[in-house]
């Protein structure tokens, strides 16, 4: 398994061995959506998230 730093919070995100290019992951610490933008070496970028009203 590969570990990649979350671009939002710098948490270490574990990638499964069979992770695919373009796959969307969720950061286990800050909860943002992350897109796998490269393999060998793996890279993550913030993926757009749907904005929603909450809590009001």
């Amino acid at each position: 398994m590969t570990t990649v730093s979350c671009p939002e919070c710098e948490a270490q995100v574990l990638l499964d061995a069979d992770v695919e290019l373009g796959e969307i992951l969720v950061c286990p610490e800050c909860g943002v959506d992350l897109e796998v933008t490269a393999l060998n070496p793996a890279a993550l970028e913030l993926a757009p998230m749907v904005q929603e009203d909450w809590g009001e």
Binding site: C9, A11, G31, W54
Partner: protein, 351 residues
């Protein structure tokens, strides 16, 4: 007593009819290494404790006894109204080798600070240095080695834990004021009623009852070393819960990632601290609602990188992390037991 050996010890509670005393009982009755020997109450002598704390029915047949009937035990908990423990601390120390006092009497190390914030001279200033401030997240090693541990103020605890990551990482700008807005539930006012707690007056309120000058401010000054700090207290329409919202400035150049590092470190160092900063769902920031009955402190933050304004939020159950939960956590440390023993309850959802 041998530390670290998971043997049963005896404990008693002096002043067990209040809300903190009841919460202590709930935790200690279920504690695998503790036998509760006696519980005192002047106003409920002879009554079963479950007649005052109804959630304890069928879990204990203890009755309240007179304070004068209290016998020697391994650990004595004091849950008396503020000002009383300090007048008899010598007598209590003769009954038990270890004392955990939930009141405000031994929280402050400096007798002049006590007099300034509590409006009267301390009755036993020679005892102040013997006590360790009872918040494990700040004094874990000292508590483990201590015989005398103080309680914590619930508002002070929410404030101190909200500030902890910023202070520990040394990213708080101390040249600007720290403003702490605190929302509190009604149980914080204790089990004794007054006109303000009368249901018709207390229900549905959002009532600011102390703009500044609250006594718990002294604990924030002492424990965080932040001198220019104000606590503004607002009562809201819940029974349990404290939400502290800190407004301050971070040092120039501090980024959101620095804050993530600081908050993550606080959570990694402390079993009962969690970071709540979510992108999905309803619970994106800390809320006391889901902490009722639990010993967790949930922390969250936001940073305006354009001007360094940081908002740090801490939610707790005032009777748990802000009182009885921290006291039992201290007991576990003092006895060398797993810190989470009898404190594993994770709260309820929905509630």
């Amino acid at each position: 007593m041998m530390k670290g050996i998971e043997m049963s010890i005896s404990v008693s509670i002096v002043g067990g009819s209040g809300y903190s005393g009841g919460e202590l009982l709930r935790l200690l009755i279920a504690h695998p290494y503790v036998t509760v020997k006696q519980v005192t109450s002047r106003s409920h002598v002879g009554e079963y404790v479950y007649q005052v704390h109804p959630n304890l029915r069928k879990r204990t047949q203890l009755k309240f006894v007179e304070p004068a009937q209290i016998e020697a035990v391994d650990v004595l908990f004091l849950a008396l109204p503020h000002g009383q423990a300090q007048t008899r601390i010598g007598e209590y120390a003769a009954l038990a080798g270890k004392i955990i006092d939930l009141s405000a009497d031994f929280r402050l190390r400096d007798a002049t600070l006590y007099e300034r914030w509590y409006g009267e001279a301390h009755a036993a200033p020679e005892w102040l240095d013997k006590f360790v401030y009872g918040l494990p997240e700040l004094h874990r090693a000292e508590i483990a080695a201590a015989d005398y541990v103080s309680g914590v103020g619930c508002n002070a605890t929410a404030s101190n834990l909200a500030l902890l990551p910023l202070v520990k990482a040394d990213i708080l700008d101390r040249s600007t004021p720290v403003i702490i807005e605190i929302k509190v539930g009604s149980s914080e006012a204790g089990a004794e009623g007054n006109l303000g707690s009368h249901h018709a007056e207390r229900a549905n309120v959002i009532r600011t009852f102390s703009a500044f000058g609250h006594r718990h401010t002294a604990e924030v000054i002492q424990e965080m070393g932040v001198q220019d700090v104000s606590l503004t207290m607002t009562a809201v329409d819940v029974v349990r819960g404290v939400l502290a919202t800190v407004h301050g400035k971070v040092k120039p150049g501090t980024t959101a990632k620095d804050l993530w590092k600081a908050y993550r470190a606080a959570a990694n160092d402390n079993l009962f601290i969690r970071v709540v900063k979510e992108q999905r769902g309803v619970y994106r920031a800390p809320e006391p609602k889901v902490l009722v009955g639990s010993n967790y402190a949930d922390l969250g933050f936001e940073l305006d990188e354009s001007n360094g304004h940081v908002v740090s939020i801490c939610a707790i159950d005032n009777l748990m992390k802000g009182a009885a939960g921290s006291a039992v956590q201290c007991l576990n440390l003092m006895m060398g037991w797993q810190e989470t023993t009898a404190l594993e309850f994770m709260g309820l959802h929905p509630l």
